[in-house]
Every structure is written in structure tokens, then in C-alpha cells.
């Protein structure tokens, strides 16, 4: 277990290869639920939570069942069903045992089934041949990166609400331009990981 290697995976998922801002995964919640910081935080909390559980569940399924039995071609079907079932199960368990968490994340949980960042990260973990521990760290980093992007972006959007753009740029185009600038600012992190850890 190389700690440095884990930190590199984590840092690159949060900053350098941010899943939202440089790989365009999870655009719908990023653009749709980022109007208020409160909702943005709830949504990212749900994403982080489900992402961890989904990775912890799909990795063993891929390696010990699908790959072992030569059923790799069923990956897409099995993963999406497992994620859908997990989301329902999580919702029920949270409601019964941790009601405060359910109140905070509840409305966002059903959205996770069709969220491409969850599905995308579970598949990326398999494609990159990560070990179980690496996969979990990557999921944590992806969730953290999503959280960071959401919070920053909702902060920006609260300011652009009072802006006065040209009429055709009102609303959606303005939101996208703000996203472009945020994504551009994340370029500054390029090379940070290599320089810090010498990879």
C-alpha cells in the first residue's frame, strides 16, 4: 500500500482531471442544481456517498463474478442495475436508521441512478485496472472533485444572477460561459501533482 501513490490518485481526481470540469461527467446536476449553495451541497453529498458505495459494490462483482465466469460483456447491464438497486437500498436504510442524513440527501438520491458521474467512475475504475483500494480512493477523489466544483460554481452563479448580459446570452449561455471560466481556472492545477510527487 503505497501512500504516495494513493495521494497522487486522489489529487489528480480532485484537481487535475476533475470529473466534472475536464471530463464532462455529471453535467446535468452541475448545471441544474447549482443555483443555491444549500442544494449544491446536498447533491454533492449524495453523489459522494453513492459513489463510494457503488464502487465498493461493483469492483468485487466485476472481478470475482463477471470476469471469473467470462461474463465481461454483461458489465454495462449489471453495473447499471446494481447502482439502481443500491440507491433504493441506501434510501431505505438511511430513512430507517439515520433520519437526519436522509432528510439532507433524500430528494437527491433517486437522481443518482441516471447520473453519469457515478456510472462513469465505476467503469473508469475497472478500465484503469485499479486495485480495490485504489478504486475506493479514486471514488473518494471523484466525489470530492464534484463537491468542490459544485460549491465553487454555485458561489459564482449567485453573483451572475444580478449580471446584465446581452439578451441572447441571458440564462443558459451565461451559465455555460461561467462554467468555461471555472474550468479554465482548474488548468492551473496541471502539473501540480507531477511537481509535488515527481511522477
Amino acid at each position: 500500500m503505497d501512500v504516495k501513490h494513493m495521494i497522487v490518485i486522489m489529487m489528480s481526481a480532485v484537481f487535475v482531471n476533475n470529473y466534472v470540469l475536464s471530463q464532462f461527467l455529471g453535467m446535468c446536476p452541475f448545471l441544474g442544481v447549482s443555483k443555491e449553495i444549500k442544494n449544491a451541497a446536498g447533491m454533492s453529498g449524495a453523489v459522494m456517498f453513492v459513489m463510494l458505495i457503488a464502487t465498493a459494490a461493483t469492483w468485487p462483482i466485476q472481478h470475482y463474478i463477471l470476469h471469473e465466469k467470462g461474463l465481461d460483456y454483461l458489465q454495462t447491464v449489471v453495473f447499471i442495475l446494481v447502482i439502481a438497486a443500491l440507491v433504493q437500498l441506501t434510501k431505505i436504510i438511511l430513512k430507517r436508521y439515520i433520519p437526519p442524513l436522509h432528510d439532507a440527501l433524500g430528494v437527491f438520491l433517486p437522481l443518482m441512478v441516471s447520473n453519469c458521474v457515478i456510472f462513469g467512475v465505476t467503469i473508469t475504475n475497472i478500465n484503469n485496472d485499479y486495485t480495490f483500494f485504489e478504486a475506493v480512493v479514486n471514488a473518494l477523489g471523484a466525489g470530492g472533485g464534484f463537491f468542490l466544483a459544485m460549491i465553487l460554481f454555485s458561489g459564482i452563479r449567485e453573483h451572475t444572477q444580478n449580471a446584465d448580459p446581452p439578451p441572447s446570452f441571458k440564462g443558459i449561455p451565461l451559465t455555460l460561459i461561467s462554467a468555461a471560466i471555472l474550468s479554465l481556472s482548474f488548468f492551473a492545477f496541471g502539473g501540480v501533482v507531477e511537481n509535488l510527487f515527481g511522477h
Binding site: M27, C116, P173
Partner: protein, 225 residues
């Protein structure tokens, strides 16, 4: 059985292409639209793959519309769509390996593409098989058209080529930022602004990104908004 509406086929087809273009007007399927539009050939390949899945899923869901119980229809759609996506994945891997590598993770991600879901939910489960197939063809063509248009702008300005053919002056003086993430956002923003301008603000009925077409819309209470 619900009563079938009589709608002219041509109207359904152009509806998807122009009036309700899934990417530029309905703002669905933004993730693949932004991610694979760095090269025109990838965008075209992605468009064709998604169109195939759309047509198959619309035909299957429309044929089974009397059988699928209303309460479990979303899981049923997921399984059907995932099946077709797996088929496309294997087909592309076998016959177009460079495209398979270029699209990477976005090929399996057609499963969670909102366009496929929303057509199943909005159109296929209420209309006849033939109308659903025509609707899927229109929507798929609209998706492909929007993707290819976006990719053409980004590829010509960003790397000075179009479908891999280099353009004399531009290939020397290209602007690489257009092929990167921020360029994707900017080009998309400008295209939507043009749609806004041309239609005098009438085309986009929603002024914000919202939940329309999201398969989970009915059970999430609008995502807290």
C-alpha cells in the same frame, strides 16, 4: 391501451431535427455533446451509435407498452436500453476499434443518456411502433447534427482540421483551447445564444437547466428546486 394519436410522419421527423432538437433546444445529453465534440469524426460516430440505441429502444418500448406495468417501467427501460448499448459497444469494438478507443467511456454512458430515457418516457410509451421509430430517427439525427456542428467548429478552430483533413491556413494558426474543456463550454454557450437570437427567445421554453426529460423527475420532487 391508450388511443393512438394520428400525427403526420414528416412532422415527427422534423420535430426532432429542428423544433425540439435534443441538444440545442431541449438541452439533453449535454455530457456526451461536450465531451466527444473535439473531433468531427468522433462526434459523427457517437451520433450514429446513440441513434441506433434510440431507434431500438423506442421500437422495443413501444412494442411492449401494453405489457410493462406502469410502476416498474423505469427499471424495465433501463434493462432494455442497457442491452442495446452492450450490443453497440461490442459491435463498435469489433468493427471500428479506433472509434471505440476515441469514445472510451462515453460509449457505455449512452445507458444514462437523458435523450434515450426522455423519448421512451415522453413518446414511445404512448405512441405506435412506427411513429416511435420515426421519432427516434428524428431525435437521433438532431443529436448527430448538433454534435457534428459543434465538433466542426471546435475541430476547425482548435486543430485546423475537419474530419481529419487539414485546412491550409488554420492548421498553422490554430487555437488549441477550443479542443479543451473550456472551449467546449464556450462553443456550446455561443450556439445556444444563436438559437436564442434566431428564434427571438421563443425556442427555449425553459430559461434554466431543469429536470424535464430526466427519468427520475417524477420521484425526486424536482431535485429540491
Amino acid at each position: 391501451m391508450t388511443r393512438l394519436k394520428k400525427t403526420p410522419k414528416l412532422g415527427i421527423l422534423t420535430n426532432g431535427l429542428v423544433k425540439e432538437n435534443p441538444v440545442l433546444v431541449s438541452l439533453l445529453g449535454i455530457c456526451p455533446a461536450l465531451a466527444v465534440s473535439t473531433q468531427s469524426s468522433n462526434a459523427l460516430g457517437m451520433g450514429i451509435a446513440a441513434t441506433f440505441v434510440l431507434i431500438c429502444s423506442n421500437i422495443a418500448i413501444s412494442s411492449a407498452r401494453g405489457i410493462i406495468p406502469k410502476r416498474v417501467r423505469i427499471p424495465c427501460y433501463i434493462v432494455l436500453i442497457a442491452g442495446f448499448v452492450s450490443f453497440v459497444q461490442m459491435f463498435v469494438e469489433a468493427f471500428a476499434y479506433p472509434l471505440y478507443q476515441a469514445l472510451g467511456i462515453f460509449l457505455p454512458l449512452i445507458v444514462v443518456n437523458c435523450i434515450v430515457f426522455s423519448r421512451a418516457e415522453v413518446f414511445a410509451r404512448k405512441n405506435s411502433v412506427i411513429n416511435s421509430a420515426v421519432d427516434a430517427l428524428g431525435m437521433g439525427a438532431g443529436f448527430t447534427l448538433a454534435l457534428t456542428a459543434m465538433a466542426s467548429i471546435r475541430e476547425i478552430l482548435g486543430s485546423g482540421t475537419w474530419f481529419g483533413i487539414s485546412i491550409p491556413l488554420l492548421s498553422t494558426y490554430n487555437i488549441p483551447i477550443f479542443t479543451m474543456a473550456p472551449g467546449g463550454f464556450v462553443v456550446f454557450a455561443i450556439l445556444i445564444a444563436i438559437v436564442n437570437k434566431v428564434s427571438r427567445g421563443k425556442a427555449l421554453r425553459r430559461t434554466e437547466f431543469g429536470c424535464a426529460g430526466c427519468p427520475s423527475e417524477h420521484n425526486c420532487g424536482k431535485g429540491g428546486q
